[in-house]
């Protein structure tokens, strides 16, 4: 950012025009009612001093904001529009959406499916309600804006962690207790697909898997490793692909709790022994989601390994780094090494030879750190920084270390709040 002071005539104009629809927004951005005048001098803006209190009376804050929550946040909240409430009274039927709830929150995939559920109700007619069925810990605070009419939260120790057997028994009981029109699951690796298949086998229903175009009558689903579109009558149980419909964003919903009468389950034959602790470097490279990869442009190997550790990244390497004996062969990325699928691949001092590029064809975001702005890796990268790797890695490590400090204290705070 340059520090030359520039005028923004439009902003000034809006600030002057109190009837402009954006006036409030602009006015609230200005800190303490101070405006930079045309000559660059600071001017007081009398209309801006103070704020409108909850009861509509203008107040002047003599504590300069120290007594309240930070200004930016509050004004953003004030800006939020109240969406119209969609109410369903004593529904005739339900559409059950068994959400993945990764980390206790609705995923994007879950939200798409909630959107689809409403679409099905609109097409089918009748007084249907969309139910989010969830297990275990729930942290989601925005069921209402995601299109959830009812929340069926099935709680109990038996359902915690990995408990597909208990969960499917509960779902079968839901089926018995409520009028369920459809069961919708995300066709995902987060458990949705597994649970859906179990339920389908239990209820003797033939589900549609990898469904992506669904209406009340017809479902189009993928088959034969996604090479086939199968069109059929929309079945009771559906496992849906991502983006099967648009998420709800223009209505608010009641999200009233529902309950299941009987939550007793038989003893599990599958016992969860918990997640295994994984060292990023023990993750098979092909599966790693974040790789820090070293090439011929690395001169300080200790620093590189430290950086990988600080960033929590899996280490990769170009063939030259392997040939020169700095990295084991199993770390080589490329034509004769591993083909990786990482979401982020940071290539440090790698020129981007074609054989190396073959290995990162499926990577989402490539970041290049290189001294040569003309090399092929820079052409491939979403973000390239031109400079000495050692210097940049050092700075990056500093940033990450700071970030960890603050997020640790954040967590500590959260924990104490919870306590």
């Amino acid at each position: 950012m340059s520090d030359i002071i520039r005028r923004d005539p439009r902003a000034e104009w809006i600030m002057r025009n109190r009837l402009h629809p954006l006036h409030e927004q602009y006015a609230s951005q200005e800190e303490g009612g101070e405006v930079r005048g045309p000559s660059g001098l600071i001017r007081k803006f009398p209309h801006k001093v103070g704020f409108i209190g909850p009861n509509g009376i203008k107040r002047i804050d003599r504590l300069k904001g120290n007594a309240t929550a930070p200004k930016g946040k509050r004004s953003a909240a004030a800006q939020e529009v109240q969406l119209p409430l969609h109410k369903v009274d004593s529904p005739d039927y339900y559409i059950m959406v068994v959400a993945d709830m990764v980390g206790g929150r609705l995923t994007g995939h879950d939200k798409d499916i909630l959107g689809l559920a409403h679409k099905l109700i609109a097409e089918q007619g009748g007084n249907g309600a969309v139910v989010a069925v969830c297990f275990g810990e729930v942290k989601e605070e925005h069921f209402d804006t995601a299109g959830v009419d009812r929340v069926l939260h099935i709680e109990g120790e038996a359902f915690e962690g990995y408990a597909p057997e208990a969960r499917v028994q509960a779902l079968a009981k839901v089926e018995a207790q409520y009028t369920v029109k459809h069961w919708l699951f995300p066709d995902s690796i987060h458990g949705g697909c597994d649970l859906a298949s179990r339920l389908a086998a239990r209820l003797g229903e033939r589900p549609a898997t990898q469904a992506w175009q669904v209406n009340a009558e017809q479902t189009v689903s993928r088959g034969a490793s996604a090479s086939l579109d199968i069109t059929r009558q929309t079945p009771k149980i559906l496992m849906l692909l991502e983006e099967c419909a648009d998420a709800i964003d223009e209505t608010r919903h009641e999200a009233t709790p529902m309950s299941l009468d009987d939550v007793s389950v038989a003893a599990a034959t599958i016992k969860d022994k918990g997640l295994m602790a994984v060292d990023p470097n023990a993750i098979p490279m092909a599966e790693a989601e974040f790789i820090l990869s070293a090439g011929n442009g690395i001169h300080n190997w200790d620093q590189f390994h430290e950086a990988a550790q600080v960033l929590g990244a899996t280490e990769g390497a170009s063939r030259v780094a392997v040939d020169d004996g700095f990295m084991p062969r199993s770390r080589q990325v490329g034509a004769t090494g591993t083909w990786v699928t990482a979401r982020v691949y940071v290539a440090v001092g790698i020129s981007g030879a074609i054989q190396h590029m073959q290995g990162i064809g499926q990577v989402d975001k490539v970041v290049a750190i290189n001294t040569d702005a003309g090399c092929d890796m820079v052409k491939r990268a979403a973000l390239s920084v031109i400079g000495d790797s050692e210097e940049i890695l050092a700075e990056l490590m500093k940033l990450v270390a700071e970030h960890k400090q603050t997020s640790l204290s954040d967590q500590a705070e959260e924990n104490s709040n919870a306590a």
Partner: protein, 637 residues
């Protein structure tokens, strides 16, 4: 009296023992698989092959060739005459003089052998081979003295019993090496096995200036596919191994050995000898496989080779560059043996290392090693306006595109070549998506089943169309089409068709004036001979002619032409990627840099990929067609 007869008796005894040894040796070869040879014709052709073909190779080392003629020729002649003079006691002085002459010739030769052995180069084996010149000299000197009386130079009975005893010891030492050792596995075994190897060579086409480089098809219905044990080799392959003189010329040329990969072709052949005779390699006195200790290997004719005799990495290190075969004075076929053993590893054990199995699986499922959609094979040519055979049916030149079609770098070569053909108004078409991988990689990786299936399907496609020439930019496909498809071409799809490499074809176009080219103005240029173009197909001149036609004076590398060093890209070696101390491509690039060249001209997409894989700074690498296209004078119509 008896004492007088002692030398003669010793000669006969050692001769008999030698013959017994040879028969036993022959029985070892017969443990191999049957292979039809023409025995009479072979034996008749043998002296010629020895004098012409073998010496053509030995001739590259003038010193050794003269030495060998003197020693070997002298020995054969004197041995015959020794029998005449000392066993059959023919009393003519003239014969004795002739014997003396032959022995002197041999003595001179043996002296030079001795000299070479004073400070032997690293490639030569030591051990028993170090005593050979001494045995030769002993033989010559002993028989010279023994013959002196017969020649009338010394009176009969000179020296009395003492001399006879000394000479008898000389006879034992000399003939022990030369006759007994020949049959019982001493260094002289090479003479007897070598002679028979020349007579019964598995590739008789190689003699008389011919070339035979295509691999032999494997029988897919046999109980074990490929070579698992020494006895699975053909009998004449075993015989060939026995002919090895451990001269190490192969080792000196082997790129894998130089790169420190665990392969030494000489040791490999010697291990095959250990395998066919049974025993260990403890007596081997040459360079080891880099990084492997000598003395650990053991085997016998009926034991799996890779279970103790030769490690799998050794077999997978080979780039099938044929430098060893080209250099071997005994015309031993290393590559055949290596691929035979690979066939067992791939087709019976399923142990192709590294990316090998993935590549093979891709070839099987998609007809290309990269596993790309077969329907995208012609994508590169979307803007090239190239007719496909399916529409044309008949054409003068069929352009075999090869799997370079899927690789962005190789596509530049393809486009350059297409542009040149268009400029010369060539009537050309491609097979388009009907083309399949030639099968080269599959075959070198030992998967002959897949190669055969590809060859048959490609031939079936080719058989539907009419064309006069097939031209390809890929020397590997060129080799398959030209030398290996014939074994499967039952319907004559390629009969009468000229198979050409693009450099040959372009050279024809330039010579006939169909292509007009400007002089090249860049810096120094060197040329790298691709193995599959040069050694496999003998094309050394066309690419050079083309460069010369641009006014380029080629700065030749130390190793060029038939001695060109491999880029490391053949035989599936980049796929199996056996670690060494260095990269073959790096060494080749050093060769190129040493000429001071700024540009390396090549005639192969694989060489281009390998050499461009060398870390910068390095000379640029371009296919000849790319160089030509830059100098093309386009006529504006």
């Amino acid at each position: 009296m008896v004492i007088d007869w002692l030398p003669s008796i010793l000669i006969v005894v050692l001769l008999l023992l030698g013959v017994i040894g040879m028969l036993r040796r022959a029985s070892l070869w017969r443990a191999g698989q049957p292979e039809k040879v023409n025995i009479i014709a072979g034996l008749m052709a043998m002296p010629g092959r020895y004098l012409k073909d073998l010496h053509h190779v030995v001739e590259r080392d003038k010193y050794m060739s003269k030495t060998h003629v003197a020693t070997g020729g002298g020995f054969v002649l004197s041995m015959v005459l020794v029998l005449v003079v000392h066993v059959f006691k023919v009393q003519q002085q003239i014969v004795a003089w002739a014997l003396l002459g032959a022995l002197l010739l041999m003595l001179v030769g043996a002296f030079f052998v001795f000299k070479r052995r004073l400070n032997p180069p690293e490639r030569l084996s030591k051990g028993p081979w170090m005593r050979l010149p001494k045995s030769l000299i002993t033989f010559a000197v002993t028989f010279i003295v023994l013959t002196l009386p017969a020649a009338g130079i010394l009176p009969e009975g000179t020296g009395g019993i003492a001399l006879i005893m000394v000479l008898s010891i000389g006879v034992i030492i000399g003939l022990g090496e030369l006759l007994f050792g020949m049959g019982w596995g001493g260094p002289m075994k090479h003479a007897f096995a070598g002679a028979l190897h020349l007579a019964f060579h598995r590739r008789p086409e190689r003699f008389g200036g011919g070339r035979s480089t295509g691999l032999k098809p494997v029988d897919l219905t046999s109980a074990v596919i490929g070579v698992a044990k020494p006895s699975d080799f053909k009998w004449n392959q075993l015989l060939g191994f026995d002919a090895c003189v451990q001269c190490g010329k192969c080792q000196a040329m082997c790129p894998a050995f130089a790169a420190g990969q665990p392969l030494n072709p000489k040791k490999l052949i010697q291990d095959m000898v250990v395998g066919l005779a049974g025993g260990t390699d403890a007596n081997y006195a040459g360079s080891p496989y880099p990084g492997k200790e000598v003395g650990q290997a053991k085997g016998n004719p009926n034991e799996i080779i890779t279970a103790g005799l030769v490690s799998q990495e050794t077999l997978w290190s080979c780039t099938t560059c044929r430098a060893c075969v080209e250099e071997c004075p005994m015309m031993i076929e290393h590559v055949d043996a290596i691929v035979d053993m690979r066939r067992f590893l791939t087709m019976e054990k399923g142990e192709t290392p590294n990316k090998g199995s993935e590549v093979l699986e891709n070839i099987i499922a998609t007809d290309n090693p990269g596993g790309y959609a077969p329907g995208s094979r012609t994508n590169w040519a979307a803007d090239q306006n190239l007719p496909v055979m399916k529409d044309k049916k008949e054409v003068d030149v069929l352009f075999w595109v090869s799997d370079g079609a899927f690789d962005m770098r190789s596509q530049r070569i393809l486009r350059a070549f297409v542009k040149l053909m268009k400029a010369a108004n060539v009537d050309v078409a491609i097979l388009g998506d009907e083309e399949r991988d030639s099968g080269d990689v599959a075959r070198r990786l030992g998967d002959d089943a897949t190669f055969q299936s590809l060859a048959k399907r490609n031939l079936a496609t080719l058989g539907q169309y009419k064309f006069n020439k097939i031209v390809t930019t890929d020397p590997h496909a060129y080799h398959c089409l030209r030398n290996e498809y014939a074994d499967f071409d039952k319907d004559g799809a390629l009969a009468g068709v000229e198979v050409l490499h693009h450099t040959t074809f372009l050279n024809q176009l330039v010579q006939s004036g169909a292509l007009k080219l400007d002089a090249f103005k860049g810096g120094k240029v060197t040329y790298h001979d691709p193995c599959y173009l040069g050694r496999y197909n003998g094309e050394y001149e066309a690419p050079r002619d083309l460069l010369r036609s641009l006014g380029i004076e080629i700065a030749e590398m130390e190793r060029s032409g038939f001695r060109s060093r491999c880029c490391g890209g053949g035989g599936g070696a980049p796929i199996t990627d056996i670690p060494g101390e260095r990269r073959i491509a790096d060494m080749r690039m050093e060769d190129a840099s040493a000429t001071g060249a700024e540009l390396v001209a090549v005639g192969c997409q694989q060489c281009t990929a390998m050499l461009e894989g060398v870390v910068e700074p390095r000379p640029q690498v371009k296919d000849i067609s790319e160089i030509l296209v830059d100098q093309l004078i386009e006529e504006v119509h």
